[in-house]
């Protein structure tokens, strides 16, 4: 004679769900995508569409034929991986390479571990780093920004170095000589580089939206940016002829994109505030070390992946303080 549902409390639920979180992140990346299309035209749009489609298709095929579980492509996470992957590569990359990268990102980076929530590494970065070591030339031949209203939507890409590339190759002096390396151009996105990372302003608008909707919290990005700023600042103070001013480090490479959109990936980052701060500190230090003394001009991807690997340890070390439990005092 059971008439009504028997279930454990609580009987109400917040309106939050995974899908909403993912779609909010996608929405937050739209300004950066629009800027990218403005500067890189058709190439950026084509690359994004291919990458998103390839990621979603890979997830669908694996989920349907290998895992045989409920279909998950509409939760938005595969689309997000595709978008972030596209944001991290040169706009003129051959299409087949992007498809390979997408398959690796979703197939190896995510589904091999069992799908969303189980991957230790950020899938988009797994795909990106795979492409970087497999197609080193194509992945480091960066197109320059050319606004579509000047050059047209389908303009051929003109390649050139990224600011960090110039810095690596020719040192600080050369950067000052290159007249177009103005700070304003840097934050507006009028420069060479991966097309999602170029416009700091658009990325920050998205980041503020995410912070307001409480999708991400400030601790990881803040910790990353502060660490990079302080670390490069110390180097700059020690020898200004050798190192550039810290502010440039924040906007030259993919740091803003990495700090706000990739390092904050919930699945692969620590859960507690103290953990997040340490995580961000690690990313900041590794990024700067690679940028200043490593073989690659940019190190955000590697830094995030390395810290992803440490996340379980950080989670174990920084548990929340349990109510009513006094820490045993050190003797």
């Amino acid at each position: 004679m059971n008439k009504y549902t028997i279930s454990g409390s609580p009987h109400v639920h917040s309106s939050e769900n995974t899908q909403k979180i993912m779609y909010r992140v996608l929405l937050a990346l739209v300004p950066a995508l629009l800027v990218a299309i403005y500067y890189f035209g058709w190439y950026a749009l084509r690359l994004t569409l291919v990458s998103v489609a390839a990621c979603m298709l890979t997830e669908w095929l694996i989920q349907k034929f290998l895992i045989k579980g409920p279909l998950t492509i509409n939760d938005g996470s595969a689309a997000l991986t595709g978008l972030l992957l596209a944001f991290n590569v040169p706009a003129n990359l051959p299409i087949w390479m992007v498809i390979v990268g997408s398959i690796i990102a979703i197939g190896v980076g995510k589904m091999a571990f069992g799908g969303l929530g189980k991957n230790p590494f950020n899938p988009a970065l797994v795909g990106r780093v795979f492409m970087l070591v497999s197609f080193p030339t194509a992945m480091t031949t960066w197109p320059q920004a050319q606004p579509i209203f000047e050059k047209g939507f389908f303009a051929d890409a003109v390649t050139g170095p990224t600011p960090l590339g110039i810095l690596k190759e020719a040192g600080v002096g050369s950067l000052a000589e290159a007249g177009d390396m103005q700070f304003l151009d840097m934050i507006l996105g009028n420069r060479g580089g991966a097309f999602g990372e170029v416009c700091a302003i658009a990325l920050l608008i998205g980041a503020i939206y995410l912070l307001c909707r409480k999708v991400i919290d400030i601790w990881t990005p803040l910790s990353i940016l502060l660490t990079v700023f302080v670390f490069t600042g110390i180097c700059y103070l020690v020898d200004p002829t050798q190192y550039i001013a810290p502010l440039y480090h924040l906007v030259y490479g993919g740091l803003i994109l990495g700090a706000f959109f990739m390092a904050t990936d919930m699945v692969t980052s620590p859960m507690t505030i103290r953990g997040k701060i340490l995580f961000g500190f690690g990313i900041g230090v590794i990024t700067v070390v690679i940028r200043l003394w490593g073989a690659y001009p940019e190190g955000v991807s590697f830094a995030i992946l390395i810290m992803n690997a440490l996340t379980p340890l950080i989670n174990k070390a920084f548990k929340p303080q349990v109510f009513g439990v006094v820490k045993p005092s050190k003797k």
């Binding site: 549902t5 409390s9 609580p10 009987h11 799908g115 919930m266 692969t268 929340p320």
Partner: protein, 451 residues
């Protein structure tokens, strides 16, 4: 008004939905037959002392407490015992109960003063008050139904400093305590005084969420008007945040002290009592009136006339639902209590008892269990946990039956407030697994301690 305080760790803010806040308390007429369960408190059920055919008076003892954690049960009406049998109560199990065929007129048992006159003079001393509370079967009426006299007996070597009245009513929808504060303000405040006398303290603090401004102002005003009478009583507004009315959270918010893990609130010098219980204590001590009725909120978004009713125990809940405008279309969940910690019931004709603070009716859209997806390790459950636990972890290890780990990760500190599950974007039934883990871990700990 004192500045607003709150607990520091975790917490969530569900929609408040205090639909019945402006509905005055109505006396609910009793049906022809009432069914009084003998187990109305957290501990052992009372032992029946009446038999079929006995005539009982209103307020007469019909069940005596069995064991230390147990409470007396009194007859809520005058009539004849039809039978002593079992009834399916709110837990869904059949439990012993006394069926009473009611007479139309209440005939009160000897010694009970049934008037509305306010009696301000407390004649009993501390020990007598506690005995009276025990005799009258008073329990924690917030829902946990822990016998109040046990709380008031401060153990040897401990000292109470504060009486804290839990008027937070942080559960969404419920308004029974709020209405009682508005309508029985003076009686309630005398109740606080009685409690202060019972545990020998000179400070009584009423912790109340700031969404009940009307009650806060009224209490402040009443205390100011009768400064001498209500000396030492203070109203402490609290931030509207769930679970502000959790005993440990309330103590933390009001005094800044943390109840040590695994210990009782008295460690911090606090004794916490619910509003309805405080009023019941006033009636018991001043009027010699045992606990036979309470205020029940009948509510829900689709309920036509949500309301607050003064209900004698043993009245079936479906009559209350009728009085609130009938059972609306499409109700799939009936909840005894509030939406965060209440228990769902399978039938609507369960008898109201001492712990029935509310009857909440929900449709499938409001209460539907959504599809569970993978944990995305967002950590929101850990951020929401007011006890500083890691619900995602407890859920996983409880699922794997690893009860060494659950104990190490403080599963026994969980207060089952449901904040974790409320906030989980993957809709994982975290609390279901934690409850399971808690039950198993608790059994293991008890078995170990017995050796």
């Amino acid at each position: 008004m004192n500045p607003i305080k709150t607990f520091s760790k975790g917490g969530v803010h569900p929609e408040e939905n205090k639909l019945s806040a402006n509905q005055p308390i109505q006396d609910f007429p009793m049906p022809k037959q009432i069914i009084v369960p003998l187990g109305q408190c957290l501990g052992a059920p009372a032992e029946c002392i009446v038999k079929k055919g006995d005539r009982v008076l209103t307020g007469q003892l019909i069940g005596t407490a069995k064991g230390f954690v147990s409470a007396n049960v009194h007859s809520p009406a005058t009539g004849t015992v039809a039978k002593v049998d079992v009834v399916m109560d709110h837990t869904g199990y059949y439990k012993p109960a006394v069926f009473i065929d009611r007479e139309d007129q209440d005939e009160w048992a000897e010694g009970i003063i049934n008037t509305d006159e306010l009696l301000t003079d407390i004649k009993l001393d501390s020990k007598q008050i506690i005995d009276k509370v025990k005799e009258c079967g008073i329990v924690g009426m917030g829902g946990a139904t822990f016998p109040t006299h046990v709380k008031l007996m401060v153990p040897e070597g401990k000292k109470a400093e504060y009486i804290i009245i839990n008027a937070a009513e942080c559960e969404p929808y419920l308004t029974c305590d709020f209405r009682l504060l508005l309508e029985k303000t003076q009686e309630f405040l005398i109740g606080v005084k009685i409690l202060m006398k019972a545990v020998n303290v000179d400070k009584g603090i009423i912790g109340i969420e700031a969404n009940k401004m009307e009650a806060i102002e009224l209490l402040d005003k009443t205390i100011n008007e009768h400064r001498d009478l209500y000396k030492g009583i203070e109203v402490q507004p609290l931030k509207t945040k769930y679970p502000q009315g959790g005993e440990k959270q309330l103590i933390k918010a009001v005094t800044g002290r943390e109840v040590p893990s695994g210990k009782l609130p008295i460690e911090t010098g606090c004794v916490v009592v619910n509003v309805a219980s405080t009023y019941a204590i006033y009636e018991a001590v001043q009027k010699n009136k045992p606990l036979i009725e309470r205020i029940v909120t009948v509510t829900g978004k689709s309920v036509k006339k949500p309301g607050n009713f003064r209900v004698r125990f043993g009245t079936p809940a479906d009559l209350l639902i009728e009085a609130a405008g009938g059972l609306p279309e499409g109700i799939t969940d009936v909840i005894n209590g509030g939406p965060m910690m209440g228990k769902s019931v399978s039938v609507t004709n369960f008898p109201c008892i001492k712990g029935t603070s509310g009857i909440l009716l929900m449709t499938i859209d409001e209460a539907q269990d959504r599809r569970v997806t993978n944990c995305i390790r967002c950590g929101r459950c850990a951020m929401a946990c007011p006890m500083g636990l890691q619900p995602f972890l407890l859920h996983k290890i409880a699922k794997h039956n690893d009860f060494d780990e659950t104990e190490k990760n403080h599963i026994m500190d969980c207060i089952e407030c449901g904040s974790c599950e409320f906030t989980c974007p993957a809709n994982i039934p975290l609390l279901d697994y934690i409850r399971y883990g808690k039950a198993k871990t608790g059994a293991i700990i008890r078995a170990r301690n017995q050796k």
